[in-house]
Amino acid sequence: MRFYGYAGHILFVDLTAGKTWRETLGRELCEDFIGGEGINIRLMLDLLKPGVDPLSPENPIVIGVGPLVGTLAPSTSMTQVATKYAIPASSDGKKYYVANAKGASSRFSLMLKNAGYDHVVVLGRAPSPSYLLITDGEVRILDAGDLWGKDVYETMSILKKKHRNSGVWTIGPAGENLVRISHGFVDRSHMGRHMGAVMGSKNLKAVVTYGAKGVEIADRKRFLDVVNPLRERILTQTTVDPPIESDGPAHAPGMVSPYKEGYPQDLAVKTKIEDFACASCITPDRFTFEIKDGPFAGETLRTTHFLMVPIFGQRLRLVDWRETAKFMDMCNCLGIDVLTAYQMVTFVTRLYARGDISNKETDGMELRRDFRCYRELLEKIARREGIGAAMADGWYSLHEKVGISPWEHWDGTGIVKGTDTIVDSRSMRFDPWQFSQIVNLRAGKEEHNSPIVHRYHETIEVYREAFKESMNLTDEEIKRYFTDDDFITGRFEKISEDGLAAYESLGQCIQQYILSCGALRIRDAAQLYSAATGIETSAADLKKKGERIWNLYKVLNVREGFTREDDAFPPLWVKATEAPARMGTGEVWLTTRGGRRLTKEDLTRTLDDYYDERGWDIETGVPTREKLEELGLSEFVPVVEKYLTK
């Protein structure tokens, strides 16, 4: 069978036995689940036994690159990776979710496709530190003894020099030490928030890939007839507004003195020294910023947009931006998730400052709200020492250590399934972006498919028209997702997720369907897929396949015991609606876009709407028999049966 778009093979690697083999990619898999995330999830269902310890050799890692990866379709550079995450998702430490993460790469995804593989399944555990080399000529499990212990950047440099033009995915010392809040880096991007420990548990330091097999497409003219005007639209439509652009002002929303002065407006422009794009992307958002003076002179921060620096800096109470940049850089080097790390560090140091905890809870460490303390905490997390060991094992473990719950205390944060949320709905209004964190199968992650959602000043009419265009909806259909002045959040989430699943299965980065003006529409993606693969697919087909993928993804997690009770709103968010309190410079509330203060009942109704729109059991939040049969997934009905109330 000749493959277009696809490479045509799945590579299997058994690290325990030291064996590798490949299988042909089935056409039915492609037609039903597209590729990337979709096929990753389908493979996980067969490979992963329920109840497996995520840090055991029985937990597989499945890497996938979708059928558009390696082509000129803009920003199709995503690597998808699925596994059972090592973050305890319940207070008893027994539940762990299965999720699919992604990373945009300058070369990794393109090279994996050019090595001849759409998916790589990693099984078992290597007997000693190893790295995997996957090329178009060979697949080898190589010794990583001299890389073990090295930080992310040093490892990346050594491997990229040793293996010319390769793509590299690596973990840092934190992942090696099974720090559960660790992650990896793929080329210039984070990948796999909180899955670094899974790689570390396999003694797998890195995956390196290179190839020159190429990607054939079925209809070149048709493909370029979509790509060329799409590139034009991307370049001529307004892209993300400042301050998200690296050249925009450094100020985060709501900055106060002295932070406003410590993070001047032109900081990003003055310190940026490098721009990087991912393969096929014409809106690069990987940058290097250089600290030019002070104790960290000459050091750099590799990140996406500079906006994170002032946001973290103000929360950490670091007036000197160079200290914030160094904190973030340390997280990158060690391979610790910076989003979780800065929240945990903030939490424990604030508790200590108030006298709510003492040296007894910190194993003798004096905590201060300053950079030196933060640095020491990061080092302790990476080495699993003292209070760092509790932080390394996630929020439930930290709760047990300090005796104060981070999901209820005012100095805590929103936590869903053991994971901190990315955005806090109390201060940013409650819309699909916030709600997605509750029901996303990758816990706490704000993922959706709504263009321009970051532009908070827009009217609901603008969002409605943008989404209608983006997801190819009729006037009748759009009424399911919007009222005159607001999102119907729960219902909107369903179609947003379906679109997201489709894009992530194609290999498409959010750059072009969310962060810009939504230059890429689902009908463009359908055209690109049809032209690349020769598998004729409409926009409606793509949405349906996305729905199928999301339902199967849900089944995978229902099998691990996740139901409606796990889709719980963070107690801290709800606490603010019931008991006003001054937080920082002002009160914070859950509100709608219209500014109406939400109640618990409003939030319950949103979840009801979501499950209803999905065709799931409203009481238990699992796919119904009818929905699975409709999607051609009847073989999985036995998984959900015990949770169905009808």
Binding site: L72, V215, E216, L235
Partner: protein, 77 residues
């Protein structure tokens, strides 16, 4: 190989590989950056500079790479 009709500004290159993708699609009938007639030697460490070079096979003056570079790393002479 030096190209008379193309000026190179490596400091503007962000390594999107669009030039390689269109070149290889045109002349190799598939997307294969490693076989494109324009080669991009990547930056690895901070302060590295991209190297852009043309292979001996680049004999037609099609300037496709120039057209597909939106970062002005390539310019027609």
């Amino acid at each position: 190989m030096h190209k008379e009709n193309i000026k190179v500004y490596p400091e503007a290159c962000v390594e999107c590989l669009s030039c390689q993708l269109i070149c290889s699609l045109t002349y190799q009938d598939r997307f294969v950056p490693e076989r494109a007639y324009i080669q991009i030697d990547p930056r690895i460490d901070t302060h590295d500079v991209v190297k852009i070079r043309f292979t001996e096979d680049c004999v037609k003056e099609c300037s496709l790479c120039v057209r597909y570079c939106v970062f002005e790393a390539l310019g027609k002479v």
